[in-house]
Structure formats: C-alpha cells, structure tokens
Amino acid sequence: MAAKTANHKAWWLVAPVVALVAFNALIPMMTVVNYSFQETFGDNVFFFEGFKWYEQVLGSERFHAALGRQLAFTFTILVIEIPLGVAVALAMPRKGIGVSVCLVLMALPLLIPWNVVGAMWNIFALPDIGLLGRALNGLGLAYDFTQDPTSAWITTIVMDVWHWTSLVVLLAYAGLRSIPEAYYQAAKIDGASAWAIFRHIQLSKMKRVLTIAVLLRFMDSFMIYTEPFVLTGGGPGNTTTFLSIDLVKIALGQFDLGPAAAMSLIYFLIVLLLSWVFYSLMMRNEER
C-alpha cells in the first residue's frame, strides 16, 4: 500500500470527533482529578487535601482486595472467552444459510441491555425457580449463588462468558474470512496438519482482530458493573464486589467522593498501562 500523505489540514476532519469526545471525556476527567485531591461535605464546598486520598487508598486493605478480585475475574474470563470464541469461529460454517443463522443467534446476547442480562441470569440461576439452579440442585450439587461465594463466582463468570464470547466470535470470524483461499490450498499441498494450519495461518492472520478483542474485553471487563450488580449485588458478603461496584459503594453509598475519585484514577492508570503494554507487544511482533 502506498504511504499516506502528510496533511496537517486533516485535523479539520477529525475536529468534530475530538470536540465531541473531549467534551465528554476531558471535563469529567478533570473533575474527577479535582475530586481526588479534595474533601467535601456536600453543597459544593471543597477543601484541598493533597495526596491524602491516594495514600489512604493505596494503603487500604479494601482496595487491595477489590483489585485482586478484579484481576482474578478479568483474567478468568479472558482465558475462557478468547479460546472459546476462536474455537466457535473456527467451527462455524463458511457459507450458506448457516452463516446468517449463526451470526444472528450469536449476536443476540450482545444486544440485550446489561441490567436485563443481570436480571435474566438472576431468574435463570435462582435455586428455587431458575432453570439452571433447579437443574444443578437436581443433580445433587449444592448450588446457591445468593449464599455460596463459589456459586456466585461461577455464575458471574458463566454469565460474562454467555454475554461476551460472541463478540470474540464475531471478530475472529471476520478475521478468518479475510484469509485468502490460496493459503489453505497451499497448506493442504504442503501437507500441513490441522494444528499447523491453525498455528501458522489462522492464528497469525487473526492476530490483529484478536488484539482488538482482547483489548476490548480487558477494558470492558475491568469496568464491569451493571450485570454483576443486578445478579448478586456484590455479594454474598463482598465476594463479588468488583472495582466498579466497590466504587459506587464508596462514592454514593458512603459519599466519600475523594477516595472514590482517587481509586478510579489509580484504576485508570493500571488499565492504561496494561493495555499499552499489551498493544505494544502485539504490534512489535507484527513488525519483525
């Protein structure tokens, strides 16, 4: 492909986007930064507190616990969703009516409002009236996500897998479809095994879309709030209280705006760092 031409006037073309996003991003971001250095007792009266909240948050047990839970959750769902999504995409039909049917049905969970997802899984998993809960208990398993932390964790993870794996499938499928037929033909003739085809052709050509899929899932799962909140309310106890749920508890429940703001910014920095490292690593491999 020919190189792009240098043209600084292109800024006019991006100006509307920059204006819209900056309006929504910069003003709240600056406000949150301001909060994170201040104490308030309501009525827009603020006192500058320096780095107090940051110190408090960084040293708090609660923060470490929530961060640990969040990392565990994100890691688990990535480990499940990415391979599962790739596997489903690989097994999907390549042409015919099956493609449309698969795509429409698979995309459905993506199009359900997040609180409905939570509510739906709540109804589905309730041990007394839910299909899942009844079925598991019928099999003799002690399952009750409202009481048992393990059950709650598993339910939350399965719900997220149910909700988001399709996004990985869609992206991976699109990536697979863009591989020219000649690659498969060449591999057939070279006598490549199914594994070698996957490793050297499919995976390598899907790398770009998978990078995007991992980034999107990583960022979104780190911010997850509505679905687990509706499903478990963060309980039982605090066992499924992820970062956002915790933040809302602090900010709105206790109205400790300062610590909540400091905590969000720390999280923001962590996500930014991890995304950037991951993105750089993927892109670096691409170029060599």
Partner: protein, 93 residues
C-alpha cells in the same frame, strides 16, 4: 453557567495548565522540526517523540503512586525521580 461543581483548586489548575503546555510545546516542536521516523530504543520498542512523552507521563504516574504507597507524602522525591525518568526515556528509549 457555573463551574463550581468542577471543584477547581489552584493546585490542580496548575497541573492541567502545565500538562496542556507540555502537549502544546511538543506539538509545536514536531511542527517546526519533525522528529522523523521512529527509532528503536533499549526496550526494543519503536518510539517517536510523542511515544516517548506518553511513556514518560505514564511512568511518572506510577512513580508517584509508588512513592505514595511506600514512602508517603509529600511526594517531592517522586518529582525528582520523574525528571530523571523523563531524561532517561527521551535519551535512550
């Protein structure tokens, strides 16, 4: 339209103004004397001037957080480390 809800203090305002000035300065620098193609630094990353600024800022954020969690405020020491970090990044990365 009142801006009081944004809870400005002179300290944070200074911080943002400095940040904006750094960005504008970098933009101006690139405009007048383009930095050219990315170079390969000691981490094996291909970075342009802008990338190095980003690495500096992100790194500084974590240096400040680390200082606060292990040594505590006031974080003036962190400021010194950040400056050293910036010099290192712009020279070697």
């Amino acid at each position: 339209m009142s801006l009081s809800w944004m809870a400005w203090t002179w300290q944070t305002a200074t911080f943002f103004i400095l940040l904006a000035m750094v960005l504008a300065g970098m933009g101006l620098w690139e405009w007048k004397r383009p930095g050219g193609n990315p170079r390969r630094g000691i981490f094996g990353l291909d970075t342009t001037r802008g990338d190095r600024l980003f690495i500096t800022l992100l790194g500084s954020g974590f240096i400040a957080l680390g200082w606060l969690s292990f040594i505590g405020s006031p974080p003036y020491g962190a400021l010194v480390i950040c400056a050293l970090w910036a010099i290192f990044v712009f020279r070697r990365v």
